[in-house]
Amino acid sequence: MSITQVFLLVAIAMFCGLFKNTRYRNLILIIFSLLIYYRLQPATPIRFLDFWFPTFAIALALLTWIATQNNLADSLKENWTVLLIALLTITTIAGNRYLTLCCITATRPPQIWGVILALCGFLILGFLMLSKFSFRLRLTFLAILFIGIFILFKTPEISVLLSKFLRTINQQDVRFSSANDLVWLGISYILFRMLHILLDLRANRLSALKLADILSYLFFFPSLLAGPIARFPQFQEQLQVVPHLHDYIAGLRRVFLGLFRKFVLADSLALLALSPQNAFQIHSPFYLWIALIAFSLRIYFDFSGYTDIALGSARLMGIHLPENFNAPYLKTNLIQFWNSWHITLADWFRAYVFNPLTRRLRATVFPTWLTILIPQLSTMLLIGLWHGITLNFFFWGLWHGLGLFVNNRWNNWLKTHPLNRALFIQNIFGWALTFGYVTLGWVWFLMPTFWDAWNVFWRLFGLGI
């Protein structure tokens, strides 16, 4: 996102915040969120995908809403305005093919009849699901569908096949098929928010959902790009809040902090950070370490900068989004680090993977250490694969999973050891070790292949391969 785009988003957020009637505010918010989603979706080499990706995401949201209703007729009565707004927004954007009023989508949208047909198909699928499947079965079906979509788009090998398929039906040259053809903006966040809704509905932690709330939650424009993944009930509560003077001040302050972190710190650090390109050009371990530390800081300032912008923009509407970072690089052990890095994603996996798995394992005959290792490894592997289903992200997850396990065992051992009292030493060494371990772990994250990462690891210690 450019600085101009950030200022535009801030202006829109302030405009939305001006509406003191939360019902109207939320309708305006939905319209802007959907428009911004289309606007931010980058162009792809495959024709019309920049239109179809957001449309498909909105259709999935509608499908989720339909599937979660018990009595559709009553729900439609209550939600028809929002449904109409969503459908009208999509068709208006598609109609822009003929009007070419402005630049909402990156490229020209497809034929409008195709869009209307696709939307009808989705709605029919929703109604069929509603009439044929039980509530739990519907939720399970959608959860499997979302995980399937996630795997499809996050596995480069499968993405290439999908790209070939899409190019074939679009009559485009399949020789240029690539996983990069399928850049679907914010889909990881959107799918995980949808899964959160489904899993909580399934566990009876959520009741009947309003379409307006679902659409606001899933496509809330400040958090489209980089989260955070708020919890639905908390977000629903926040939608009823109106901003005050101190919200404007706090929001703007946070946006400026984010701008500074992203555009000054992160973008400057990017000029010296380790990258797949320079990793093999740097000729000494000393410089390689500096570049790696620069990458470590860069990724933090980049991500936390975007989060600040998201939190600040939301605050301009009176909405408090959950914090995603809490000085992670100042933590003195890995457990603390993961409690303060991408907090909302870690919370998501803690709620739906780590805790249930730990509970199950504790009811078995597994030794204690195994009931700790398995959930930690599984959670961290899944967090790794959330970034992309590749061997490198797998190893990045494994790296942190094993690190957390060792950290846990160390803490356990330390409880009975005299070193436990030497807090200062613990903190100094703990900080250095944690920062070093996390920073080394980024090698898996940033290098494109396993062997590239392996090579860089050795070279960092002066052992060139």
């Binding site: 101190h246 010296l272 050009q281 390689l288 500096i290």
Partner: protein, 381 residues
């Protein structure tokens, strides 16, 4: 109540509504605005020359060639046009001349700069690798001051700066494409340094030959920090890239697939505004060379007509290559020889020294195998 008093009241009312933290941030913003305004005024009034400050030759080693890049992110290099900053980043600025050093400057176009060559494969680098010594046993050290623009006036501008570094000899590599009068001022480097260009034209007494550019009126706003933000941002990026330059030794991105030079040529006979059969001497900037030799004295200059690609493709009987119709280039060589004889200037015409396969994407850019051949074929060796 005066309007000032009203504002104070407004501020106090606003302040009373804010918490301690917000008051803190309000003060931060106010101070920030004050500092920003102050810096802008300082920049605008004092015309602050930040280009003299450089991390190169201090925190990081100096660069082997002047900053230029088409792809900054891949080259760890940025095209900056502040002459002070350009020279401050160069190795020559951090290398005081030793008593036993015989200093040679190379000036010229992108071929001299070493386009599509790594910094250790340029002509200057190859000449340094030869470890030459003068008869009185001084070490000959070559500095690459080439710059990828074809204009003799640009070469003169760089040499004028280079002379402050006490060269013992200047090797000036030229080709016909640097000579047309209409090309002399056509370069971002010259366009961005109008004051320097005007001063140079006056110094060279060339105002009759090359009309000096109009000094664009600069507003207070343009001179301020904000007005100069693009140039400043480029300068800052260039300083930060010092780290990757040091760590990698890369200052120029060389793509894996280099586009091929044009072998089949058009049948166009004209050369710029000139039509065959006669190349007009007054349309070529020989006078720039003449004047530059004058201001460089007593430092000797050797003029080198640089090698070029000679095509054998379509229409090669009409043209030598993409740049030159045969008639124009042949006459240029004759004019150059006459000019050198008249000025008693040492000139090396090595236009056909390098075989056609040793050129890369244009008719003057050489491969890393071609450049050492130029070194070996140079009469100096």
């Amino acid at each position: 109540m005066s309007s000032g008093g009203f504002l104070v009241l407004e501020y106090k009312v606003m302040e009373s509504k804010l918490g301690n933290l917000d008051r803190f941030w309000l003060r931060v913003i106010l101070k920030g605005v004050l500092f920003f305004t102050g810096f802008n005024i300082f920049f605008a009034i004092y015309d602050f020359d930040y280009g003299k400050f450089s991390v190169y030759n201090h925190l990081f080693p100096g660069r082997f060639r002047l900053p230029y890049s088409d792809q900054p992110a891949e080259s760890y290099n940025v095209t900056i046009t502040n002459l002070d900053a350009m020279f401050a980043s160069h190795l020559i600025a951090g290398s005081p001349k030793a008593p036993n050093e015989y200093r040679v400057l190379l000036i010229g176009d992108s071929a001299t700069w070493g386009y599509l060559l790594p910094p250790d494969q340029t002509l200057a680098a190859h000449l340094n690798q030869a470890n030459l010594r003068t008869p009185d046993n001084k070490a000959v050290v070559f500095y690459n001051l080439g710059y990828p623009v074809m204009s003799l006036l640009k070469d003169a501008l760089i040499l004028d700066r280079g002379l402050t570094y006490q060269p013992d000899l200047v090797l000036w590599l030229v080709t016909l494409e640097s000579f047309p009068m209409e090309k002399q001022l056509f370069s971002p480097l010259l366009e961005k340094n109008p004051r320097e260009v005007i001063r140079l034209i006056e110094k060279l007494s060339l105002s009759q030959t090359i009309p000096p550019p109009q000094l664009p009126p600069t507003t207070f706003w343009q001179r301020s920090l904000f007005g100069q933000r693009k140039a400043l941002a480029d300068w800052i990026r260039f300083q930060i890239y010092g780290f990757l330059w040091t760590a990698t030794g890369v200052d120029h991105h060389i793509p894996e697939q280099i586009p091929e030079k044009q072998v089949d040529l058009s049948d166009e006979q004209n050369y710029y505004s000139q039509e065959p059969p006669n190349l007009r001497h007054d349309q070529l900037a020989f006078e720039v060379i003449n004047a530059t030799i004058r201001i460089s004295a007593p430092t000797p200059i050797i003029l080198i007509n640089e090698p070029m690609f000679i095509s054998s493709g379509l229409n090669s009987e009409i043209r030598y290559n993409f740049y030159y119709p045969r008639w124009a280039y042949d006459q240029y060589r004759e004019l150059l020889v006459k000019f050198c004889q008249y000025q008693s200037l040492t000139c090396w015409d090595i236009w056909n020294l390098i075989s056609p396969e040793e050129f890369t994407n244009t008719a003057i850019h050489m491969t890393s195998q071609g450049t050492p051949k130029l070194r070996n074929g140079s009469p100096m060796l």
